[in-house]
């Protein structure tokens, strides 16, 4: 059990885990920050919009387990995606309060669970699997036409997982996990002997590949899956390692456009505690902090994005969801923890913010 589930960082004492609860709470007006996250409960599934204290404003059922929620900058839309290999998504219009809008992939595609809106909120991009061809795709959905699918472009890799919009709004960064799956075989990983992870930058208008960064050959089993951007525009990528448990690969990479990968060296004990699995990555740009979570290792690590140094380690059972909040981070777990609240639901791996700052 941790002393506090909300991390308050950015002060000289922040490095001392356990003391953070004694620090003053950030001055955030209640109700200003809103979040969205998927959950399962008693065999049912759904997603909720809630404040940082865990008060739910909206709760929507989903046909099966969801994964991440995409939100537009205006705070109007929250779109929950099915976890792979699901094919459904459900959009909630907070402006008009109309009925949730369900939509789905075409027959020969499925979602991977993540999506991102265009800067103007008119288009939604989602990571998808062209599974018969083992090719990653980015599905393009017209928000103004009921989330009608209007096109797609390749992710230039297989198993695209999280995708984010780069500052400036013209480039997508996509983490291709590199693991082949096909719905005929459930969630089984079909190519562990020949994985091809990569992080790519793609022009959002043309869908053209701008840059592709692949890890060195000896790290071909390092699946690049989740990411966020720091204040300087670097992408921090959290990885899941599919090789032997005794290997000690870097689990966090920093990718800079025009430069490439830089593995982030974590202190042995901290790296070890991640159990070779990072489930979520979130940056707090104003504080130059990054959190990575490991539900397998039951811990979260906070780093300084300027130095790459570890700032704090939090022990929390099944922690995974993470998002910047105030001067710190809001974390959630499959045990029901949502920030300081405890709800009777297993939160899925991610928390989205409704009012985005970039």
């Amino acid at each position: 059990m941790i002393m506090t589930r909300r991390l308050f960082i950015g002060t000289a004492t922040a490095g001392l885990a356990g003391l953070s609860g004694l620090l003053p709470k950030p001055a955030i007006a209640a109700g200003k920050d809103l979040f969205a996250a998927a959950w399962i409960q008693n065999g049912g599934a759904g997603f909720s919009i809630l404040d940082g204290d865990g008060n739910e404003l909206t709760s929507v059922s989903l046909p099966d387990r969801g994964h991440d929620v995409a939100t537009d900058r205006a705070g109007r839309w929250a779109v929950a995606f099915a976890r792979r290999p699901g094919t459904f998504a459900v959009a909630v219009d907070r402006q008009n309060g109309s009925e949730p809008i369900p939509f789905s992939t075409p027959e020969d595609r499925h979602f991977f669970g993540h999506g991102v809106f265009s800067p103007d909120g008119r288009v939604l991009y989602a990571t998808e699997n062209d599974y018969d061809n083992a090719a990653g795709m980015i599905g393009i959905y017209d928000v103004t036409a009921g989330f009608n699918r209007i096109g797609e472009f390749p992710s230039y890799g297989i198993d695209p997982h999280e995708l984010i919009l780069m500052p400036g709004g013209k480039t997508l960064c996509i983490a291709n996990g590199g693991i082949e799956t096909h719905p005929d075989f459930g969630r089984a990983k079909l190519n562990l002997a020949s994985m091809e992870p990569s992080v790519v930058f793609v022009d959002i208008e043309s869908g053209e590949l701008l840059e592709k960064h692949t890890p060195p050959a000896d790290l071909f089993r390092l699946s690049t899956r989740h990411m966020d951007i720091d204040a300087a525009g670097n992408v921090w990528v959290g990885c899941q390692y599919e090789g032997p448990e005794t290997d000690e690969p870097p689990l966090l990479l920093r990718v800079t456009m025009g430069e490439g990968y830089k593995p982030i060296m974590l202190p042995d004990q901290a790296r070890h505690g991640l159990a070779n699995y990072v489930g979520s990555v979130a940056a707090n740009r104003s504080e130059n902090r990054l959190v990575i979570t490991s539900p397998h290792g039951n811990c979260a690590l906070v780093l300084d994005t300027r130095s790459g140094n570890l700032v704090e380690r939090i022990a929390e059972k099944n922690v995974c969801g993470a998002v910047a909040q105030g001067s710190g981070f809001l974390l959630s777990s499959a045990e029901g923890d949502f920030g300081e609240a405890k709800l009777g639901r297993s939160w899925d791996n991610h928390i989205a913010r409704l009012f985005q700052e970039r």
């Binding site: 089984a188 002997a193 032997p244 005794t246 099944n318």
Partner: protein, 367 residues
């Protein structure tokens, strides 16, 4: 809900009976309290180590059956080799449920069994080697440098049962040497697994005696999580990669030729072997005795279900993939998948909770 045929109704009736009559685990010795370490240690010494040794021995026997076939080709010789192959498949199936540790290293899993192979990569490579009479595939040393898809059980099955296999009885020297090299590769990989698990300072020690400085098992919880993961992950793996592909969505969409080992008719044998492996590990480890009494009955019931599923396979009058394509017997084939998914849910839910581990959410099936 599935329609109930007699065998299925019987199976569920027995499972329900198990639920009512199940007491504490049968292996419990009241004088010796069961500990986490005791369970982990027993899993290693009474299931994992002997399982890999058995697999290695059967791989050796496989090679010993192929050598005389190559020297003096004959129909009985081919039969002996095929019988050895069946025993090798059984031995592997029982231990393949272990999917952590040395078997994950160096592509050993894929080298031993390249399946599922959705795009038929392995088959294309085998056919190419045969068509070109590629001599580099006829010695284990040179075969080791080739594709992992050529080095394991599916290749050996094709050579012993696929198109042209009968020529082995008539003296197809190249094919026989290729088969011998594959058998030797399997034996080599099996030997690596035995050595790794028998190393007194290796994974066996780390799993049986977890320590904070271990790279993999730092405390008993992590060891138990790995042990529990065998039941959760392997039951799902067998359901989704061994049964689902040939079951298809309906009887008209069944795809018997997508089944593992369909050429040799060993599909049911392999799946029953997986199930038996789960039962053996459950029994050998005594893990259920670490859970409260009200949880133990779920474990007992799950094992009853696995026994019934194996009996269902035994009783089938046709190969399992064909049974899935036959309206009369399809329910029984479907039932096997339901049992495995039910085992997964029982272990990731109640039994995980009973062990004090997270009840199967992100930890067990992350994304």
């Amino acid at each position: 809900m599935i329609k109930t045929s007699n065998s299925i109704r019987l199976a569920f009736a027995i499972a329900a009976f198990g639920l009512l009559s199940a007491g504490p685990g049968s292996a419990q010795d009241a004088s010796k309290p069961v500990t986490d370490r005791g369970v982990l240690s027993a899993a290693v010494t009474d299931f994992i180590q002997p399982g890999y040794r058995n697999f290695r021995d059967k791989a050796q026997a496989m090679g010993a059956a192929i050598s005389p076939l190559c020297e003096a080709p004959s129909a009985p010789g081919l039969e002996v080799a095929r019988k050895a192959f069946g025993e090798l498949v059984t031995a592997w199936s029982e231990i393949e449920i272990i999917r952590f540790g040395p078997v994950v290293d160096d592509n050993r899993l894929e080298r031993i069994l390249f399946f599922p192979d959705r795009r038929g990569i392995g088959l294309k490579q085998i056919q190419q080697v045969l068509a070109e009479k590629d001599e580099t595939a006829t010695t284990p040393e040179r075969l080791a440098a080739k594709s992992v898809a050529l080095q394991g059980l599916t290749t050996l099955e094709y050579l012993l049962y696929g198109t042209g296999a009968e020529d082995l009885a008539g003296g197809d020297e190249f094919r026989c040497d290729f088969a011998g090299a594959v058998a030797a590769r399997i034996y080599g990989t099996a030997g690596e697994l035995v050595d790794a698990w028998d190393d007194p300072e290796g994974i066996a020690a780390r799993l049986s005696d977890p320590k904070p400085e271990n790279p993999d098992f730092r405390d008993e919880r992590e060891g138990l999580q790995a042990l529990l993961g065998v039941f959760v992950n392997s039951s799902e793996l067998v359901a989704d990669t061994r049964l689902k592909p040939f079951l298809g969505a309906g009887v008209d969409e069944a795809k018997p030729k997508s089944a593992i080992f369909w050429r040799s008719g060993l599909t049911g044998t392999a799946i029953a072997g997986d199930m038996k492996g789960l039962q053996e590990l459950y029994k050998a480890s005594g893990m259920i005795e670490l859970t409260p009494e009200d949880i133990q009955r779920y474990g007992t019931s799950a094992m009853f279900e696995l026994s019934n599923a194996q009996r269902t396979i035994d009783r089938m009058k046709q190969p399992l993939p064909q049974a899935a394509a036959d309206p009369e017997t399809r329910d029984a084939a479907n039932y096997l998948r339901l049992v495995l998914l039910s085992i997964r849910d029982t272990f990731s839910g109640r039994i995980a909770g009973g062990l004090g581990l997270s009840a199967g959410f992100s930890s067990l099936d992350g994304d």
